[in-house]
């Protein structure tokens, strides 16, 4: 069995998914959670581009990927802003220290 180029990209996508999700499950530091989200979304973007490559609609796929990049960047930036504010208020970035909505 030989691996074609799309197969390789799919492996990369899976790896990025797995790494990102594992990090989201185990990491408690807010800044590192933002990094983990970035890794996860890299996988999503790559998958969209792969789909466009396979169906010969690379232009459409690129504009979709761009939307995802924009949304993700906004999430990252606002997440960082929040993290900075929280650090200032609580002197901690640990999610279990800052959970206020739970009883």
């Amino acid at each position: 069995m030989t691996l074609t180029f799309p197969d390789l990209v799919l492996i990369a996508v899976m790896a990025l998914f797995g790494i990102g999700l594992y990090a989201l499950l185990t990491i408690r530091n807010l800044i590192r959670i933002i990094v983990a989200l970035q890794v996860l979304v890299k996988g999503v973007i790559l998958l969209i581009i792969l789909a466009g490559y396979l169906t010969n609609q690379i232009g459409m796929a690129q504009s979709m990927a761009l939307t995802v990049i924009v949304a993700d960047t906004i999430v990252a930036v606002l997440g960082m802003a929040l993290a900075v504010q929280i650090m200032r208020k609580k002197k901690s970035l640990d999610t279990s220290d800052i959970a206020e909505l739970k009883r």
């Binding site: 990094v35 973007i45 949304a71 906004i74």
Partner: protein, 162 residues
């Protein structure tokens, strides 16, 4: 098959990005992941998206991350995970196997020979103009978010000086 090395590179960089305990190292590994991903996108023919991914993912986000880490202090995160590691790995592997078993057959299906000439600029500015406008608004909102971050910083400086 030389692209295999890019894929391996992505795996290592991504893993390091989430595994390294120092925040600044994390940010740098993320930049490397982003760069390698955009290389793959370039190879897939998504030239414009690759450039944007490189400049935004590897550039802007990294700079902002370093900036934020600078504010909160470059700490070493030594906290223990709340979800047991093996449980996390197990559930993720389950999900990935299920996802992969669905994606692999799709790759070889026949309907993938859809041919349509789609140009990035056309689809961006004509077919999805509404989305584009919305993205511009969203970007503006995020700029406001960053501004709030800056403003608070200056206030704090004033507090410290007084």
């Amino acid at each position: 098959m030389w692209q295999l090395f890019i894929v391996i590179g992505i795996c290592i960089a991504g893993f390091q990005a989430i595994e390294s305990k120092r925040l600044s190292h994390s940010a740098l590994w993320l930049a490397l992941t982003s760069a390698l991903t955009s290389w793959l996108m370039y190879l897939l023919g998504a030239v414009e998206a690759a450039v944007i991914e490189l400049s935004v993912g590897a550039g802007v986000v990294t700079i902002l991350l370093v900036f934020a880490i600078n504010i909160v202090g470059d700490q070493k995160d030594e906290s223990k995970p709340l979800v047991p590691k093996y449980l996390a790995m197990f559930i993720i592997l389950t999900a990935l196997v299920m996802l992969g078993s669905m994606l692999i057959p799709i790759q070889q299906a026949d309907f993938l020979t859809v041919t349509s000439t789609s140009v990035f600029a056309k689809s961006m500015w004509e077919e999805r103009i509404l989305d584009t406008m919305l993205q511009i608004v969203l970007l503006f909102a995020s700029v406001l978010g960053v501004l709030s971050l800056m403003e608070d910083r200056s206030n704090e400086k004033k507090d410290q000086s007084s």
